[in-house]
């Protein structure tokens, strides 16, 4: 039974994967189209890529998005990990239910609602305290709020399965709880931390709806610029930009996946060696 898999299931699996990938592959193919007309193939060319480098609007937006992404993913990693530790390690505390709810809600809350409500908060705060001005700061805060939820979910499941006996051993040997955690459990959850940092980074880099709401004049992130171009139809320079982003993200994810797998294998190997 274990290895019996019907041809029907295999074909659906293949169709599903094809559906996921064909549009992106076609897009990458079109990005090398010399013709500015999307329906005509005018031969191979890298014109659109060279035009991209000269487009200041896109470069500025990309730089802003990267800056936001780094700050957001670092902030979300810290807050999300703290929330995960709180939820896994402290079984009872005041506000536990509230924290659980707030950690899970952003995953299913439509972005458009989160965006509107956060903008209304920022506007009211600006009126009351004179801070924060809409732009970099507000985008960062809004992104951290939803990215930290993803971090918590990822780290939480890893913490659940992490072996606590090493940490307890360290504490029995006289280490304080913080020290014991840093020396034993932190290395064990490191792959989850790395992947959730990366996940936050890509989520932040990709967000259009929340950024559009909380951003102010002059602060346009890359998705905002792409969206305003794409609304008018297919444009060849967006094809080039999209291909670049898709390939870059793909390579990054595959490489991290490979690294995580290798460290995981090494950890298992070390554990086996230690027992011999």
């Amino acid at each position: 039974m274990q290895n019996r898999i019907s041809p029907f299931l295999i074909s659906i699996l293949c169709i599903g994967i094809a559906v996921l990938y064909i549009p992106m592959l076609v897009l990458i193919g079109y990005s090398f189209n010399a013709s500015a007309l999307v329906s005509v193939w005018g031969g191979f060319s890298t014109t659109w890529y060279t035009q991209l480098v000269r487009n200041d609007q896109i470069l500025d937006a990309a730089w802003l998005s990267l800056k936001i992404g780094v700050v957001v993913s670092t902030g979300a990693l810290i807050l999300g990990t703290l929330a995960a530790i709180a939820l896994v390690r402290f079984k009872r505390f005041r506000g536990r239910l509230l924290l659980t709810g707030m950690v899970n809600a952003p995953l299913v809350m439509p972005e458009i609602i989160t965006g509107i409500t956060q903008l209304l908060l920022f506007i009211s705060m600006l009126q009351l305290f004179g801070w924060p001005h809409r732009g970099f700061t507000t985008i960062v805060i809004a992104h951290i709020a939803f990215c930290s939820a993803y971090v918590t979910i990822t780290v939480q499941s890893r913490l659940f399965s992490a072996d606590r006996s090493l940490e307890e051993a360290a504490m029995d040997l006289g280490a304080g709880p913080v020290r014991a955690f840093i020396d034993t459990t932190l290395p064990a959850i490191a792959p989850a931390l790395a992947s959730s940092w990366l996940l936050s980074f890509t989520l932040s880099l990709d967000d259009l709806v929340i950024s559009s709401f909380v951003s102010g004049p002059g602060a346009s992130t890359l998705p905002m610029v792409i969206f305003s171009k794409v609304k008018l139809g297919v444009s060849p320079d967006v094809n080039a930009l999209a291909s670049l982003i898709i390939c870059l993200v793909g390579v990054c994810v595959l490489f991290t996946g490979y690294l995580m797998r290798r460290t995981e294998q090494r950890r298992v190997l070390d554990a086996q060696m230690a027992e011999l």
């Binding site: 549009p23 029995d172 259009l208 595959l254």
Partner: protein, 315 residues
């Protein structure tokens, strides 16, 4: 091996030989409070603001709405509640239609996702462990790449001169190109394409844990495979079906990018109405009221999702 040894070690529940100072007792708040306060201020409290502003009136000023709470010079506090925004939602049929249309679109997209995603997850669960991890990576990878760009990429397939029409014309299946772009079908295609991984992953998580001996037992007792599927696999995968469906259904209702880029002028989903009310009409109180009403609609599905996903996490 590892498990066998660690299990023999009794969990040291004995009190630790460290002083029970202030830090020992209250130290945990250093971990709990930062995320709790941050999410409280920047995620939960904003909903209270939206709720309040939904009772305000539009005004020509910055920000463009009136104050709910005013204090007159003689220290009388006046609360002005304007229920007109909510009344407006019921009288102007655009909102009712948009809510209905969003629910309908999300519902059918979820069904299509389930029809495609269930066999995928089942196939995935039955492949060998080594192929499984590779296939899983292949299915997750699109989730990491830009959502906006994937929706955009879909346009290259379904537009009149796109790959789908070119292929069908070449094969002789159709005589003239199908009009998919700017129709409801394009919105369905966009949602299914973007949210398929969200359906497959929770389904796979439940199907993977399924006890194969149950299926074997059903087979031994004379059940044909389809019967065993209906009696064993399907009922046991209900939590995965619900979790996956909600992960598609909930964000699909509020979808803005897909109906804007792929849909036509008739595809007025609630996300689009909200966006236009906010950026086009600059009517923030009505937009807040739409958002609050939308949120009320979502409470049921979200509660359902939370219930089944925590159940899955615990098992």
């Amino acid at each position: 091996m590892t498990q066998g040894i660690t299990q023999q070690v009794p969990a040291p529940n004995a009190p630790r030989a460290i002083g029970s100072g202030w830090f020992e007792r209250h130290g945990k708040w250093f971990i709990i409070l930062p995320p709790l306060l941050f999410l409280l201020i920047f995620f939960l409290i904003p909903f209270a603001f939206a709720f309040t502003i939904s009772f305000a009136d539009t005004a020509v000023r910055v920000p463009p709405f009136t104050d709910i709470l005013t204090v007159s010079p003689d220290w009388h506090i006046h609360i002005t509640l304007n229920l007109g925004n909510f009344k407006y939602l019921f009288t102007d049929e655009v909102y009712g239609l948009a809510y209905f249309y969003s629910l309908k679109t999300a519902f059918f997209s979820t069904l299509i996702c389930l029809a495609l995603g269930y066999p995928m997850a089942l196939g995935l669960a039955r492949t060998s462990k080594s192929t499984q991890s590779i296939l899983l990576l292949i299915i997750i990878l699109p989730f990491w790449t830009s959502f906006l760009l994937r929706v955009y990429a879909l346009e290259g397939i379904i537009r009149e001169t796109g790959l789908l029409n070119t292929a069908l014309l070449w094969l002789g299946v159709i005589d003239h190109p199908l009009k998919i772009m700017r129709t409801t079908y394009a919105v369905y295609a966009g949602i299914v394409y973007s949210y398929l991984p969200f359906m497959v992953l929770p389904l796979f998580a439940t199907l993977e844990k399924l006890d194969h001996s149950l299926l074997e037992a059903a087979g031994d007792l004379g059940s044909p495979p389809w019967r065993a599927f209906l009696d064993v696999t399907l009922p046991l995968s209900v939590p995965g079906i619900i979790a996956g469906s909600m992960l598609v259904f909930i964000p699909a209702i509020g979808e803005f990018v897909i109906p804007t880029l792929l849909g036509g002028p008739n595809n007025l989903m609630i996300g689009r109405v909200l966006w236009d009310e906010f950026f086009g009409n600059r009517d923030w109180p009505v937009a807040s009221a739409v958002a609050i009403a939308f949120l009320v609609l979502l409470v049921g599905p979200i509660a359902l999702y939370q219930h089944y996903s925590t159940k899955q996490l615990e098992s």
